[in-house]
Symmetry: C2
Subunit: 242 residues, 2 copies
């Protein structure tokens, strides 16, 4: 370490890469970036820290990745590859859509930084995994009989992205506080109550929400997501011919 910061031009300081450490590569960089993003959040990822984890110099990464934004784009496409979709020829399109929506939500919650990037870059990336995701989605909405599957997909995806984004941001806030979700809610309640003071309908809604006997916040979120998804799918079902 001391020799590293003071590079004496000597034979003994000769570089000698660990052979077991797999060589630097685009795939390895993206993989490590994702685990780092998952573990420490989006604002903790810097090129220097990432390089350090890979036992590499900071600027070495730029041999494999043009810019940090490009790295993020690659990371997004990579996690889209994780999303498992039901087979395209499922007989029950509603069940298939529900499963696909749930799979997206699960990935979004597992990688909360995804929402941050989607908020900035949208779904405009053209990576192969994203394309294949769109392809399979289109496939079984088309086979369900929707004349314009793209319309249906845009609708359900918008709902899922909107809800998942809100959830992911919430979970990020909770995680940053270093508390469990229930603890954080308990600590937030006075502030929320004060904020809703003077707003009659909101205090009503708030009272209803806190009267919920369900103690598990995650279950509450699950139910909320399922409710809205059912609403969207009901609306789509009305548009199926016949």
């Amino acid at each position: 370490m001391a020799a590293k910061t003071n590079p004496i031009p000597s034979v003994w300081a000769r570089r000698q890469r660990e052979p077991d450490q797999p060589a630097l590569s685009r795939a390895a960089i993206v993989r490590e970036a994702i685990t780092m993003l998952d573990a420490e959040g989006i604002e903790a990822l810097s090129m220097r820290k990432l390089a350090a984890r890979l036992n590499a110099g900071a600027t070495s990464l730029y041999r494999h990745v043009a810019t940090k934004d490009e790295l993020m784009e690659l990371a997004v496409d990579e996690v889209f590859g994780e999303i498992t979709l039901p087979p395209a020829d499922s007989p029950d399109w509603r069940a298939a859509a529900t499963e696909a929506a749930g799979a997206f939500r699960a990935t979004a919650l597992r990688h909360p930084w995804l929402s941050s990037i989607l908020g900035q870059a949208g779904l405009a990336y053209l990576g192969p995994n994203l394309m294949s995701y769109g392809e399979r989605l289109t496939a079984f909405f088309a086979s369900a009989g929707f004349p314009e599957p793209a319309r249906a997909i845009d609708t359900v995806i918008s709902y899922v992205v909107g809800m998942s984004t809100t959830e992911a941001a919430w979970l990020t806030t909770v995680a940053r506080a270093g508390e469990s979700e229930a603890e954080f809610i308990a600590r937030l309640m006075p502030a929320a109550q004060e904020a809703t003071a003077g707003f009659d309908h909101l205090t009503d809604a708030y009272a209803v929400a806190t009267a919920d006997p369900e103690p598990d916040p995650a279950a509450v979120r699950d139910a909320k997501f399922a409710y809205g998804l059912d609403v969207v799918l009901d609306g789509l079902a009305l548009r199926l011919p016949r």
Copy 2:
């Protein structure tokens, strides 16, 4: 300018604030931040540049705003104040909801940086304008007869946020390219065509989309948004008692 970088302790360098320049205040800072965000995008906003626009020193802002994140939070609440909602006692809840959704979308597209922040922070802020927005929304969903207005609101808001976010991100990308939307689409088409190659359903959907006689991309986006919103409202209508 030269004197500023070399502060000679002289009587003549005595400070002398312009009296016409309104004093630094939290409201003025937030307002200027918003115009700057609108004009140059979220990544162009720095505390130093913002301070320079206000003829102030960079660190002076911290007397009125604890941190940059807090400033963003204030900016978000401020633009939520712009959203105009229909009166709470509208007889036609669908028309009212459509108007409210359109108003949100309009603000989101006018301030594309909003989506970036929502992606990171969600809707968890407790600012007064955000509260009042929620209150009024709850009010007329309740008066429409929904037994659990919060559920309905969450659903439609999720859809609106998801769609608007995607649109805003798209518009940001277009703006950064310095082209009109149509030009950008034209330039993007080869890449998109190549990306969809090998995905049968996607190429189909792509062909359908490009066969659209509507030449105005904004109108296409409007129609897409309206379609999905109708789907969601149809689904909600099924849940109205009776």
